[in-house]
């Protein structure tokens, strides 16, 4: 029976403490970041996992064992705990470090291959993801398929040696700088009685014949996104992830895992910090800052609790969706509060103005990517037995 209480929604500890090894790695990451900042190797930017692409930086993280942290050693991983990984992620994001190059591969594709991939795929891809040298992008959305991901029309047709893939994928971050694309394609025509059947995930080498990558500029003028056109791209059976037809289950599991991480509430942290610097000390400023701090602290505690639950083998899909909805709304709120208390931004230092500008221009994406917040609230509602 659906009791619709907290034990139902969250059968795990909601207040966790970091183990000593996670506390220790934090100091290592901070020291590394201090060194990098002192040499000027990067400029801190909001929304760093989208805006900051640096192969060099990713390789440095790989060298220090901070990519593939939780993976088995035989695949180039370091067999460290999820909470250590959580700490490394949050330190990098809070510093606005350029983590975009490895972000998808390390956080989504790696776990996907560990969970559903073949041994050959794991040995082929994971080691160089963990060294920060191989980058993956996500081929999911299409011009006619956004929230309704099951309606994708990219088609995989069987050949004697494998598959031929034709279709167009869109909104792909950094496809133009990635090596591989994971593609969700339909291998059987849509069955309206079972819309999730007949979907398959493939790994496509972006240098293959038939692949065209076209830039999509966002409204800030930057090119992070791409359209990828696949015109009869040939892949082998060894490029199928999991089983043919099991694509839907895999893709939803992939999305669920990554909904609740620190990237869902730290995109505008640099602006929050800069606000603290420039706002002065009026009681209005105190109340505004105190409230934001309370919200951020609470989001982090819940995100940490979910990371710990994941570490213990649980799959808290609904709490993760909740963190994404709450966190991304918080990211937007930071902008609103900054505008409310820093009443004349034109008099503020250039750094504050830049952070405000970049935060504003990136804000629409926070609540759209990784599942729109409306879809996520629908997932929560379903869990409450309403659908």
């Amino acid at each position: 029976m659906n009791r619709r209480d907290m034990a139902d929604l969250a059968g795990f500890d909601l207040a966790v403490d970091l183990p000593p090894e996670a506390v220790a790695v934090r100091e290592d990451v901070r020291a590394f970041l201090r060194d990098e900042l002192s040499t000027g190797s990067f400029t801190p930017r909001p929304d760093a996992w989208l805006s900051g692409h640096s192969g060099e930086f990713s390789r440095k993280l790989g060298e220090r064992g901070w990519l593939g942290m939780t993976w088995p050693r035989q695949y180039g991983g370091h067999e460290r705990g999820s909470l250590e990984r959580f700490v490394v992620s949050e330190e990098l994001l809070a510093a606005g470090a350029p983590v975009a190059a490895h972000w998808i591969a390390d956080r989504q594709t790696g776990p996907l291959l560990l969970r559903y991939g073949s041994e050959e795929q794991r040995l082929r891809f994971l080691p160089s993801i963990a060294t920060g040298e191989t980058y993956f992008a996500l081929g999911m959305s299409e011009p006619d398929s956004g929230s309704d991901l099951a309606s994708v029309r990219t088609r995989g047709t069987r050949t004697s040696t494998g598959w031929r893939i034709t279709g167009t994928k869109v909104w792909i971050s950094h496809a133009h700088r990635s090596h591989y694309l994971t593609v969700l394609a339909r291998i059987e025509p849509l069955d309206t009685g079972d819309r999730h059947a007949g979907l398959t995930q493939f790994v496509v080498d972006l240098s293959s014949p038939g692949v065209t990558v076209n830039p999509i500029a966002l409204l800030d003028g930057e090119r992070h996104f791409n359209e990828v056109v696949l015109d009869e791209v040939e892949v082998g059976d060894e490029e199928v992830i999991g089983q043919p037809g099991s694509g839907w289950e895999q893709v939803t599991s992939e999305l669920a895992y990554e909904r609740s991480g620190p990237e869902r509430f730290l995109s505008t942290f640099l602006l929050f910090a800069a606000m603290v610097e420039v706002v002065g000390s009026s009681s209005a400023a105190e109340v505004a800052v105190g409230e934001l701090w309370a919200e951020l602290w609470s989001l982090r505690r819940l995100s940490l609790a979910i990371a710990s639950a994941l570490h213990h083998g649980k799959v808290p899909e609904v709490p993760a969706a909740m963190v994404k909805d709450l966190g991304t709304r918080f990211e937007n709120k930071v902008i609103n509060v900054a505008r409310a208390v820093v009443t004349d931004p034109h008099l503020a230092p250039e750094r504050y103005q830049r952070l405000l500008r970049e935060s504003v221009l990136h804000a629409p994406g926070f609540t759209l990517r990784g599942g729109t917040n409306e879809i996520l609230r629908g997932i929560v509602a379903r869990r409450l037995g309403l659908r």
């Binding site: 909601l14 934090r26 603290v276 701090w293 602290w297 509602a381 309403l386």
Partner: protein, 343 residues
């Protein structure tokens, strides 16, 4: 252990028929005491029934889920900051920590005496013992008052819980009943805020369960309200606020027990703020989804929502704690912001 405890308290409260007189459900207190659930969190060697502060919080939270009319948050959480509850572990306790206009503790001959009043003392007309934050010489002190006050004005919060004005004038105080130290004031106010954060978390859960149930049953336009997307979106937001307030309260409790006072105060301030914000959103959404019937006295919803509206303003509202936090954060500056969050 705590799952079993949670179910035990939940079952007891589910079966209990509320019987509130003079503002509190004395019969329920007795039943909880008989099961050792009042003196939980106090060592058996001190006359308690054992268990941890987290266990005590479970009792408080589950009771709040059922809108129990009892000084449980005060007795089991707010009054625990100074290790005095073991003096009378099954008795009713409260905590009064006024920010301004405090009663005054002063020397009189060879002894100590209190003067002055305190308004809105939670359960003042009901409890046997009170931890009272009073001004003393250059600072303040916690005074353990074991009755003897005059009830100047009986009053309630909007949930009907006693919030009385007590007059302490002329009460002599034993040295053993005075707790001093720079942090006494901060611990006192924080303990109360922590209690309310835990209570709010419980009441939110009660509202969430009730509202989800209501919208699954109530039909309009040929189907349950819960099938409509607008309703689903609102219900999801309600559930999210409930989840994060609970996580914040649990985390603040952990900080209270584990860490230094400073970190504990930050955590409790954050939890009280977050719980207060959640209380406002959840009360609004639950009433909106319940429609007119939820607005009546006869329907049960108000027992919980009136508590949410009351408790968010007690032991420091969101803006009070936000100012306390904000002042500390602004003083520490931008460079310390991240480490204040993450450690």
């Amino acid at each position: 252990m705590s799952d079993l405890l949670e179910r035990t308290v939940d079952d007891l409260l589910r079966a209990h028929v509320p019987d509130t007189r003079d503002g509190w459900d004395q019969g329920l207190w007795g039943r909880l005491a008989k099961l050792g659930l009042i003196s939980i969190g106090i060592d058996e060697s001190d006359g308690g029934s054992g268990g941890t502060l987290a266990d005590a919080a479970t009792v408080v939270r589950v009771a709040a889920r059922h809108a129990a009319a009892l000084p449980l948050g005060e007795s089991l959480i707010a009054a625990t900051g100074f290790d005095v509850r073991s003096r009378a572990p099954a008795d009713t306790w409260s905590l009064a920590a006024p920010v301004t206009n405090r009663p005054i503790l002063e020397r009189s001959g060879n002894g100590l005496v209190l003067t002055g009043r305190c308004a809105a003392v939670p359960w003042g007309s009901v409890v046997h013992h009170l931890l009272l934050l009073a001004d003393f010489e250059e600072g303040c002190a916690i005074v353990v008052v074991n009755g003897g006050w005059a009830l100047t004005r009986a009053a309630t919060n909007i949930a009907g819980e006693p919030r009385d004005t007590l007059d302490f004038s002329g009460l002599t105080v034993d040295k053993a009943d005075v707790i001093m130290g720079d942090e006494a004031g901060a611990i006192a106010v924080s303990s109360g805020a922590l209690a309310r954060a835990i209570q709010i978390a419980g009441a939110l859960e009660g509202v969430m369960t009730a509202t989800a149930g209501f919208i699954s049953e109530r039909e309009q336009f040929g189907q349950p309200l819960g099938r409509f997307q607008a309703v689903q979106q609102m219900m999801a937001e309600l559930a999210e606020e409930t989840m994060i307030a609970r996580s914040a309260a649990d985390s603040a409790l952990q900080s209270f027990v584990l860490h230094d006072v400073d970190a504990g105060v930050d955590a409790i301030a954050a939890a009280k703020i977050r719980a207060g914000m959640a209380a406002t959103v959840v009360a609004r959404i639950s009433h909106q989804l319940h429609g007119a019937i939820g607005f009546t006295y006869e329907h049960d919803l108000h027992h919980l929502t009136k508590r949410l509206w009351s408790w968010r303003d007690e032991y420091g509202s969101e803006s009070y704690w936000a100012r306390v936090l904000g002042e500390r954060i602004l003083k520490r500056g931008e460079k310390s912001l991240w480490s204040s969050i993450a450690g």
